[in-house]
Symmetry: C3
Subunit: 252 residues, 3 copies
C-alpha cells in the first residue's frame, strides 16, 4: 500500500498517481489532498490521527511550503511503515504514532536534478515513494544516506488542574468541529453535566445528537481530545475560535 | 468490491480506508464523501441511483446524524449485495433497487465497546464491512442476529393526470439541476414543446444544449425523472426551489 | 489502468466507476472530477499536463457540453494509450503529448440507443472505456469504424522577442496560480532579476518561497510555462487576470 496526502487540491495529485502507477503495482490509497494549503501543522495533526489505521505502508506526504529551497527530501522509517516527504516536521508526529516501540530512523532521498523547482510531489517524492515501496525498508536503510536531525514538530500540551483545563485549538475540521489539545479523559464521567467555556455554560455530551440542532456542546472527538462542537453546525463560529486560539474549560 | 459513501468530507474517510486495507484486499471504490451533511434522504436518493451500476459488492454507507445513540448498526442483504450502515433508512431505497426479485434481509452488527462515540464509521461500520466481505453473505446470514423492522424511507410519488403533474423536488445536484419525483415518461414525445412550471413557460428538451446558455429547460435526467435545469447554470436558483419544494408542471 | 476525468463533481463519477467495475478488473485511477464545468479548453490543458505521467492506459474523459447532440463519441489511439470521450477537442492535446512519434488514429464508438440523453459518461463512455481496455488497442483498430477529421483544439503560442514576451493566460489553477503560454525558457538565467508585468515590477524567482508571503513573483511552473503567482496567495487576483487574458512581460 502507498498512501497519498497533500495540499495540492486538484488535478495535481493525479500526476503523482501517474508516476506511482508507472513504477509500482502497489495499491494506491488517498488520504486527503485538501489539507489547508501549506499548513504543515494541520497536516501533521491529521496524519497522526489517520495513518495508524493503515497496515504497514509507504506514506507519501507533500505539504511543502518551502519547495525548491534546500530543505531536504526525507524518508522516515517508523517500524514497518515508511513516510516520504519534505523535512519540515510534517512527518514526525505521525511517525511517532506509527512506530510503536520502534525507534525512528531518518534518511535523505537522493535527488538528481529535478525536472521542476515547483512540483517535487511529481518529480522527487512520488518517485521516491515508489522506490521505497519496491526496495523495501531494509534496503532503504542500506542504500539511502542517513539524514541527521530532522526538523521536528510537536503539539502543545494542555494544563489540566482538577476541574479546570487550559489548552488551545489544534485544528478545526471541515465541518467546523474544534479539536483542542485537552485530553478526553478530562470529561470522563461528566456526561450530562454543564461546563463553562470562556464564561458561558455548555453541556457535556457523549454524542452530537444529545443536544438540539444548532446547539453547542462539549464532547470527545474520534481523536480522543475534547471538542467544541455544534450539533449539525459549526463549532468554530459559535465559539469564536480558530487554530491556535486559547481554550479554557471549567467543569462546575 | 467494497464501496464507500459518507457525508464525512475530508480527511475522515481515510480512516475508513485504512481500517479496510488492514482487514481485506477487496477493491475499494469511493461513491462520494460529500453528501449533504447528515441528510439521510439525499444520501438515500443518490445511493439508489448509483449503487445499481456496481457488480455484487459490499456497500459501506455512513450518513448517521444520530451516531452514538442506540440506533442499530445493520447489514441489509439485497440479492448478491450487502449494505452496511446505520438503521436510519439510508440503506433501504438502494437495497430495494439492488435486490431485483430477491427479498431483503436485515441483520444487526455485533458491536463491542466502540473506541469512540463519535466515529462509528471507523470503529464500527468499516470493520463490519470488511467482516461481511471476508465472510461472504451466506455466512453473515448465519452468524449475525436478525434485525427486525429496520427503519424505512420512501420517496413521495408524484400525481400525473394527463398533461398535468404535481410532485416535489427530491434533491438538487451539485450543479443546481433540480431532480423531481415526476417520472420522465410524463415528457415522452413532447420534446420541443413548451410546458408551464409555476405559471411560466419553459421548453421541454432532450438535452441541456438545446437551449442557449443560461436558459431554463425541462428535461429527463439520468435518473429517469423530470429535471428543472438551466443550460450551464443553476436550475434551483432560476426556478426558486430546493429539496422538498412542491412542483407543478402543465404541458400545453 | 483506466483513468477517469470529468467535470461531474459528485456523486456522478461513482456511476462510471460502477460501470467500469462491472466490466473490467482494470486498476481505476481518478485524474479529477472538478474540472471547470463544461470548459473543454481547461480540461484539455490539464489532461495534456497530467496524462503523460501515466503508463500505457485507457483514459476516460467526459467534459461534454453538447451531450445528447450529434457530436460523436470517439476513441483516439495515441501510441500505447487510448483516450475515450466526446469529439469536441478535449482529447487531442493530451493525445499528441502521449503519442510520442506515433501517429494519432481516431475511431467512432458504436452506440446503440443510450439509456439517457444526459449521462453519456455512464451510458456510453464508461462502457466504451471498459470495452477498449478488454479488447486492447489492436482489436479496437479493427473493430471500430474510423472517425475522420476529429474536432481539434490547440493552444495559442506566445511571441517571444528577446527580453519581451507577449502571450496569454491559459488557465488558472485552484490556488490562483496563473499559467501563461510563455515558455519557461524565457526566464532561464534570470533568477533574482526583476521583470515588468503590465508596467509593474515583479521579481523572477525559482521558488514561491523566495518572496515573502503575500508577495507577487514570476516563476516557471511544473508545466514548464511562465506562471504569475503570489507566495501563499492568489496570483489571478493580484495580477487581475483570468483564462484568456493577454499577458506582457518585459525583462529589464
Amino acid at each position: 500500500v502507498i498512501t497519498l496526502a497533500s495540499d495540492f487540491g486538484s488535478p495535481y495529485p493525479a500526476a503523482m498517481r501517474g508516476v506511482l502507477c508507472s513504477r509500482t503495482d502497489a495499491r494506491l490509497v488517498d488520504v486527503a489532498h485538501d489539507f489547508p494549503r501549506q499548513d504543515v501543522r494541520a497536516a501533521a495533526f491529521w496524519l497522526r490521527e489517520v495513518l495508524p489505521t493503515f497496515p504497514p505502508a509507504v506514506h507519501l506526504v507533500v505539504v511543502d511550503p518551502t519547495v525548491g529551497t534546500d530543505r531536504r527530501p526525507i524518508v522516515v522509517v517508523a517500524g514497518e511503515h515508511a513516510l516520504v516527504g519534505p523535512d519540515n516536521g510534517v512527518l514526525l508526529p505521525a511517525a511517532r504514532a506509527l512506530a510503536g516501540d520502534a525507534d525512528l530512523a531518518c534518511y535523505e532521498i537522493p535527488v538528481e536534478d529535478p525536472a521542476s523547482a515547483t512540483f517535487h510531489g511529481r518529480d522527487v517524492f512520488a518517485p521516491a515513494a515508489a522506490d521505497v515501496h519496491e526496495r523495501g525498508i531494509d534496503d532503504v536503510e542500506e542504500a539511502y544516506p542517513t539524514a541527521p536531525d530532522p526538523v521536528d514538530l510537536t503539539f502543545p500540551e494542555a494544563t489540566v488542574d482538577g476541574a479546570h483545563a487550559r489548552g488551545e485549538v489544534l485544528v478545526v475540521d471541515g465541518f467546523g468541529n474544534v479539536v483542542t489539545n485537552v485530553p478526553g479523559s478530562f470529561l470522563t464521567g461528566r456526561w450530562g453535566d454543564r461546563a463553562s467555556v470562556a464564561g458561558r455554560g455548555v453541556p457535556v455530551e457523549r454524542t452530537y445528537a444529545a443536544v438540539d440542532r444548532g446547539e453547542r456542546l462539549l464532547t470527545v472527538g474520534s481523536h480522543g481530545n475534547v471538542e467544541l462542537a455544534v450539533n449539525q453546525g459549526r463549532g468554530d463560529e459559535a465559539f469564536g475560535v480558530e487554530a491556535g486560539s486559547p481554550v479554557e474549560i471549567d467543569l462546575a
